[in-house]
Amino acid sequence: MEEQIDLVGKAFTDHYYHLFDNDRQALSSLYRPSSMLTFEGQKILGVEDITAKLTSFPFDQCQHVISTIDLQPSTFAGGIVVFVSGSLQLPREEHHLRFIQMFHLVPVLEGNFFVHNDIFRLNYE
Protein backbone atom coordinates (compact mmCIF):
# COMPACT_ATOMS: atom_id res chain seq x y z
CA MET A 1 0.00 0.00 0.00
CA GLU A 2 2.81 2.32 0.91
CA GLU A 3 4.62 1.51 -2.32
CA GLN A 4 1.49 2.42 -4.25
CA ILE A 5 1.23 5.80 -2.53
CA ASP A 6 4.86 6.43 -3.34
CA LEU A 7 4.46 5.45 -6.98
CA VAL A 8 1.31 7.46 -7.50
CA GLY A 9 2.58 10.47 -5.62
CA LYS A 10 5.91 10.60 -7.40
CA ALA A 11 4.34 10.03 -10.81
CA PHE A 12 1.90 12.85 -10.16
CA THR A 13 4.65 15.21 -8.96
CA ASP A 14 6.82 14.50 -12.00
CA HIS A 15 3.84 15.07 -14.29
CA TYR A 16 2.80 18.28 -12.53
CA TYR A 17 6.20 19.95 -12.75
CA HIS A 18 6.77 18.74 -16.28
CA LEU A 19 3.54 20.43 -17.34
CA PHE A 20 4.35 23.53 -15.31
CA ASP A 21 7.78 23.86 -16.85
CA ASN A 22 6.65 23.28 -20.43
CA ASP A 23 2.92 23.95 -20.90
CA ARG A 24 1.20 25.62 -17.96
CA GLN A 25 -2.15 25.80 -19.74
CA ALA A 26 -2.28 22.01 -19.62
CA LEU A 27 -2.26 22.12 -15.82
CA SER A 28 -6.01 22.75 -16.03
CA SER A 29 -6.46 18.99 -16.48
CA LEU A 30 -5.23 18.48 -12.91
CA TYR A 31 -7.73 20.79 -11.17
CA ARG A 32 -11.52 20.81 -10.73
CA PRO A 33 -14.13 23.43 -9.78
CA SER A 34 -13.62 22.49 -6.12
CA SER A 35 -9.84 22.92 -6.22
CA MET A 36 -8.11 25.52 -4.06
CA LEU A 37 -4.74 27.18 -4.63
CA THR A 38 -2.98 29.49 -2.19
CA PHE A 39 -0.10 31.09 -4.08
CA GLU A 40 2.22 33.19 -1.92
CA GLY A 41 -0.72 33.91 0.35
CA GLN A 42 -3.23 34.69 -2.42
CA LYS A 43 -6.28 32.39 -2.35
CA ILE A 44 -7.74 31.21 -5.65
CA LEU A 45 -10.71 28.88 -6.11
CA GLY A 46 -11.63 26.64 -9.01
CA VAL A 47 -9.87 25.28 -12.09
CA GLU A 48 -10.57 28.33 -14.27
CA ASP A 49 -9.19 30.95 -11.92
CA ILE A 50 -6.30 28.72 -10.91
CA THR A 51 -5.31 28.13 -14.54
CA ALA A 52 -5.64 31.86 -15.23
CA LYS A 53 -3.29 32.60 -12.33
CA LEU A 54 -0.70 30.01 -13.33
CA THR A 55 -0.67 31.11 -16.96
CA SER A 56 -0.37 34.79 -15.98
CA PHE A 57 3.26 34.63 -14.87
CA PRO A 58 5.58 36.70 -17.07
CA PHE A 59 7.61 33.81 -18.48
CA ASP A 60 6.96 30.93 -20.88
CA GLN A 61 9.33 28.34 -19.59
CA CYS A 62 10.92 27.61 -16.26
CA GLN A 63 12.65 24.72 -14.56
CA HIS A 64 11.71 23.14 -11.27
CA VAL A 65 14.42 21.04 -9.64
CA ILE A 66 12.95 18.89 -6.87
CA SER A 67 15.03 18.31 -3.73
CA THR A 68 12.60 16.40 -1.50
CA ILE A 69 9.20 14.74 -1.88
CA ASP A 70 7.33 13.38 1.14
CA LEU A 71 4.01 11.56 0.77
CA GLN A 72 1.40 10.19 3.13
CA PRO A 73 -2.07 8.71 2.64
CA SER A 74 -4.64 11.23 3.83
CA THR A 75 -7.29 8.60 4.55
CA PHE A 76 -10.09 10.93 3.51
CA ALA A 77 -11.53 9.02 0.55
CA GLY A 78 -8.17 7.54 -0.49
CA GLY A 79 -6.36 10.85 -0.87
CA ILE A 80 -2.65 11.56 -0.71
CA VAL A 81 -0.79 14.52 0.79
CA VAL A 82 2.42 15.50 -1.00
CA PHE A 83 5.06 17.86 0.41
CA VAL A 84 7.71 19.09 -2.01
CA SER A 85 10.77 21.28 -1.67
CA GLY A 86 13.09 22.38 -4.42
CA SER A 87 14.33 25.23 -6.55
CA LEU A 88 12.86 27.12 -9.47
CA GLN A 89 14.97 28.61 -12.25
CA LEU A 90 13.35 31.38 -14.26
CA PRO A 91 14.70 32.43 -17.66
CA ARG A 92 17.10 35.38 -17.60
CA GLU A 93 17.38 35.21 -13.81
CA GLU A 94 20.89 34.62 -12.52
CA HIS A 95 19.85 32.99 -9.25
CA HIS A 96 17.28 30.29 -8.74
CA LEU A 97 14.42 30.64 -6.27
CA ARG A 98 13.77 28.12 -3.54
CA PHE A 99 10.20 26.96 -2.97
CA ILE A 100 8.04 24.65 -0.90
CA GLN A 101 4.68 23.31 -2.03
CA MET A 102 2.05 20.93 -0.74
CA PHE A 103 -0.72 19.13 -2.62
CA HIS A 104 -3.72 17.15 -1.44
CA LEU A 105 -4.61 14.72 -4.22
CA VAL A 106 -8.08 13.21 -4.27
CA PRO A 107 -9.05 10.23 -6.46
CA VAL A 108 -11.51 10.71 -9.31
CA LEU A 109 -11.68 7.30 -10.92
CA GLU A 110 -9.65 4.19 -10.25
CA GLY A 111 -6.03 5.33 -10.26
CA ASN A 112 -6.76 8.90 -11.38
CA PHE A 113 -6.27 11.92 -9.11
CA PHE A 114 -6.91 15.64 -9.17
CA VAL A 115 -5.43 18.44 -7.08
CA HIS A 116 -7.99 19.34 -4.42
CA ASN A 117 -5.60 21.54 -2.42
CA ASP A 118 -2.42 23.30 -3.54
CA ILE A 119 -0.32 25.66 -1.40
CA PHE A 120 2.86 27.28 -2.76
CA ARG A 121 5.43 29.41 -0.96
CA LEU A 122 8.76 30.77 -2.03
CA ASN A 123 11.48 30.06 0.49
CA TYR A 124 13.54 33.19 0.90
CA GLU A 125 17.09 33.14 2.20
Binding site: M36, T68, S74, F76, V81, F83, I100, M102
Partner: protein, 122 residues
Protein backbone atom coordinates in the same frame (compact mmCIF):
# COMPACT_ATOMS: atom_id res chain seq x y z
CA UNK B 1 -15.98 25.79 10.97
CA UNK B 2 -13.58 28.58 10.07
CA UNK B 3 -10.35 27.02 8.74
CA UNK B 4 -8.33 30.16 9.44
CA UNK B 5 -9.41 30.20 13.08
CA UNK B 6 -8.75 26.48 13.46
CA UNK B 7 -5.31 26.79 11.86
CA UNK B 8 -4.26 29.76 13.95
CA UNK B 9 -5.39 28.19 17.21
CA UNK B 10 -3.70 24.93 16.33
CA UNK B 11 -0.39 26.51 15.27
CA UNK B 12 -0.23 28.60 18.44
CA UNK B 13 -0.97 25.59 20.62
CA UNK B 14 1.27 23.14 18.77
CA UNK B 15 4.45 25.20 18.75
CA UNK B 16 4.08 26.61 22.25
CA UNK B 17 3.59 23.03 23.53
CA UNK B 18 6.52 21.82 21.44
CA UNK B 19 8.77 24.56 22.79
CA UNK B 20 7.72 24.12 26.43
CA UNK B 21 7.20 20.37 26.79
CA UNK B 22 7.31 18.09 23.74
CA UNK B 23 5.84 15.14 25.65
CA UNK B 24 2.63 17.14 25.96
CA UNK B 25 1.99 16.81 22.22
CA UNK B 26 0.65 13.28 22.67
CA UNK B 27 -3.01 14.20 22.82
CA UNK B 28 -2.78 15.94 19.43
CA UNK B 29 -2.12 12.60 17.69
CA UNK B 30 -4.04 9.33 17.49
CA UNK B 31 -3.22 5.77 16.55
CA UNK B 32 -3.67 6.40 12.84
CA UNK B 33 -1.58 9.57 12.82
CA UNK B 34 1.48 9.73 10.59
CA UNK B 35 4.61 11.84 10.95
CA UNK B 36 7.37 12.10 8.36
CA UNK B 37 10.29 13.83 10.06
CA UNK B 38 13.16 14.68 7.72
CA UNK B 39 12.18 11.71 5.59
CA UNK B 40 11.72 9.25 8.47
CA UNK B 41 8.18 7.78 8.65
CA UNK B 42 6.59 7.23 12.04
CA UNK B 43 3.05 6.06 12.82
CA UNK B 44 0.86 6.37 15.89
CA UNK B 45 0.75 8.78 18.81
CA UNK B 46 3.13 6.83 21.05
CA UNK B 47 5.89 6.42 18.46
CA UNK B 48 5.48 10.00 17.29
CA UNK B 49 5.83 11.44 20.78
CA UNK B 50 8.78 9.14 21.44
CA UNK B 51 10.47 10.49 18.30
CA UNK B 52 9.84 14.13 19.17
CA UNK B 53 10.94 13.65 22.79
CA UNK B 54 14.15 11.97 21.57
CA UNK B 55 15.33 14.92 19.48
CA UNK B 56 18.78 15.91 20.72
CA UNK B 57 17.96 19.18 22.41
CA UNK B 58 16.12 20.24 25.53
CA UNK B 59 14.85 23.65 24.66
CA UNK B 60 13.96 25.26 21.40
CA UNK B 61 11.93 28.15 20.06
CA UNK B 62 9.86 28.15 16.90
CA UNK B 63 9.32 31.50 15.17
CA UNK B 64 6.52 31.28 12.63
CA UNK B 65 6.88 33.28 9.42
CA UNK B 66 3.90 32.11 7.32
CA UNK B 67 0.75 30.06 7.95
CA UNK B 68 -1.50 29.04 5.04
CA UNK B 69 -4.59 26.91 5.44
CA UNK B 70 -7.35 25.38 3.35
CA UNK B 71 -10.28 23.06 4.10
CA UNK B 72 -9.28 19.54 2.99
CA UNK B 73 -12.80 18.13 2.70
CA UNK B 74 -14.77 15.96 5.22
CA UNK B 75 -14.28 18.67 7.84
CA UNK B 76 -10.48 18.53 7.72
CA UNK B 77 -8.04 21.45 7.57
CA UNK B 78 -4.64 21.56 5.85
CA UNK B 79 -2.09 23.86 7.47
CA UNK B 80 1.20 24.85 5.81
CA UNK B 81 3.77 26.55 8.02
CA UNK B 82 7.20 28.05 7.46
CA UNK B 83 9.48 29.59 10.03
CA UNK B 84 12.70 29.27 11.98
CA UNK B 85 13.75 27.05 14.82
CA UNK B 86 16.27 28.26 17.36
CA UNK B 87 17.95 25.56 19.38
CA UNK B 88 19.46 26.44 22.75
CA UNK B 89 23.21 26.95 22.44
CA UNK B 90 23.19 27.16 18.63
CA UNK B 91 24.35 30.39 17.05
CA UNK B 92 22.16 30.23 13.92
CA UNK B 93 18.46 29.48 13.65
CA UNK B 94 17.35 26.66 11.35
CA UNK B 95 14.71 27.28 8.70
CA UNK B 96 11.88 24.76 8.52
CA UNK B 97 8.61 24.07 6.78
CA UNK B 98 5.85 21.80 8.01
CA UNK B 99 2.41 20.70 6.95
CA UNK B 100 -0.41 19.32 9.07
CA UNK B 101 -3.69 17.69 8.06
CA UNK B 102 -6.09 18.20 10.94
CA UNK B 103 -9.23 16.10 11.31
CA UNK B 104 -12.17 16.81 13.62
CA UNK B 105 -12.78 14.75 16.75
CA UNK B 106 -16.27 13.89 18.06
CA UNK B 107 -15.61 16.27 20.97
CA UNK B 108 -15.37 19.24 18.60
CA UNK B 109 -11.60 19.68 18.55
CA UNK B 110 -9.00 18.54 16.02
CA UNK B 111 -6.22 15.98 15.92
CA UNK B 112 -3.23 15.65 13.60
CA UNK B 113 -3.76 12.93 10.99
CA UNK B 114 -0.79 13.85 8.76
CA UNK B 115 2.36 15.71 9.81
CA UNK B 116 5.36 16.31 7.53
CA UNK B 117 8.42 18.26 8.71
CA UNK B 118 11.44 19.39 6.69
CA UNK B 119 14.37 21.60 7.50
CA UNK B 120 15.09 24.08 4.72
CA UNK B 121 18.81 24.17 4.11
CA UNK B 122 20.48 27.07 2.36
Amino acid sequence: MDPDAVAKAFVDHYYSTFDANRAGLGNLYQEGSMLTFEGQKIQGSQSIVAKLASLPFQQCKHNITTVDCQPSGAGGVLVFVSGTLQLAGEQHALKFSQMFHLMPTPQGSFYVLNDIFRLNYA
